[in-house]
């Protein structure tokens, strides 16, 4: 802060970057802060209920941890492709950027596909949100996370289009890739915790 005060005090700024950070990054981080509170409140409640209700071991036995693990792998990989896309974009390797973005989008869709398979299985076995507290939490947590994945896919897809068109590089806009990446990685981090919470305990 002091550093910033000095800079400001002498009246020298980068346009729109009073604190030497792009506005997009500041905005996204504030957004993530609010997201942490949403997921934090939900996950915290889930943990407390789970302890209070003695573990729900037998309900949890019905979720398919293999598919869960696969999905974790998919999402981790998509995070990697996302960051690769960014570093490619920064060094102006446009085709590479587009390819990695496409990979990220496809991996995101794969995640949703697998999640869909899981849902259909569980529901066909008669496990719905209404069949017990564990399942209520399971569907709410994965559902909310799934919505975030869908949003991320849409964002990345638009960036992919921009990358093919080349408009991504007009006026330092490739930085948008970093902001979208921050969100995407956050969604990944949430899943990193949801996976053991829902599948491995």
């Amino acid at each position: 802060m002091d550093r910033e005060l000095d800079a400001a005090g002498s009246g020298i700024f980068e346009p729109g970057e009073t604190i030497g950070m792009p506005i997009g990054k500041v905005g996204v981080w504030w957004f993530l802060a609010s997201e942490i509170m949403v997921f934090g409140g939900l996950i915290g409640t889930f943990i407390l209920f789970r302890i209070a209700h003695g573990g729900w071991a037998d309900e949890a036995a019905h979720v398919n941890w293999r598919l869960g693990a696969t999905n974790t792998f998919v999402l981790l990989t998509s995070s990697c492709t996302m960051i690769m896309a960014l570093s490619a974009a920064r060094t102006g390797r446009r085709e590479r950027t587009a390819h990695f973005l496409l990979a990220t989008v496809l991996l995101g869709l794969t995640f949703l596909g697998i999640k869909g398979i899981e849902y259909t299985r569980e529901i066909s076995e008669g496990f719905t949100p209404a069949s017990g507290m564990f399942w209520s939490f399971y569907f709410l947590l994965t559902g909310l996370h799934g919505i975030h994945v869908i949003a991320g896919i849409i964002i990345n897809a638009t960036l992919y289009v921009a990358a093919i068109r080349g408009t991504l590089w007009s006026g330092h806009h490739e930085e948008r890739l970093e902001f979208a990446g921050l969100y995407w990685h956050f969604v990944d981090v949430v899943w990193i915790f949801l996976f053991p919470l829902l599948y491995l305990s």
Partner: protein, 93 residues
């Protein structure tokens, strides 16, 4: 920018680490050890994974104090909130 490729290698190494941790985590889950120990290990590993993503993929290692503050405050609040709820939800009357 010539360092770009090294960056890429870095990122891929992180990914290898993440996958390795994922596998170990899943293996521990199948090991015949005490449940509490397993859970502790599994969540320890999850935390490491999260830190890797945050540090390298979300560039926290090169970020300003401000970003740490923005991310840390809600984390502390959420955890504190859950802790205050313990007596009412776990030890409910």
């Amino acid at each position: 920018m010539t360092t770009a490729d090294n960056h890429d290698r870095e990122y891929i190494m992180i990914w290898v680490w993440l996958v390795a941790l994922l596998v170990t985590g899943t293996l521990i889950f199948m090991l015949p050890i005490s449940k509490t120990a397993a859970i502790a290990l599994i969540f320890g590993i999850a935390a490491v994974k999260a830190i890797l993503v945050l540090r390298d993929y979300m560039h926290l290692k090169s970020e300003r104090m401000l970003v740490y503050a923005i991310a840390a405050v809600p984390l502390v609040l959420a955890i504190g909130f859950a802790l205050v709820l313990i007596p009412d939800i776990i030890f409910r009357r």
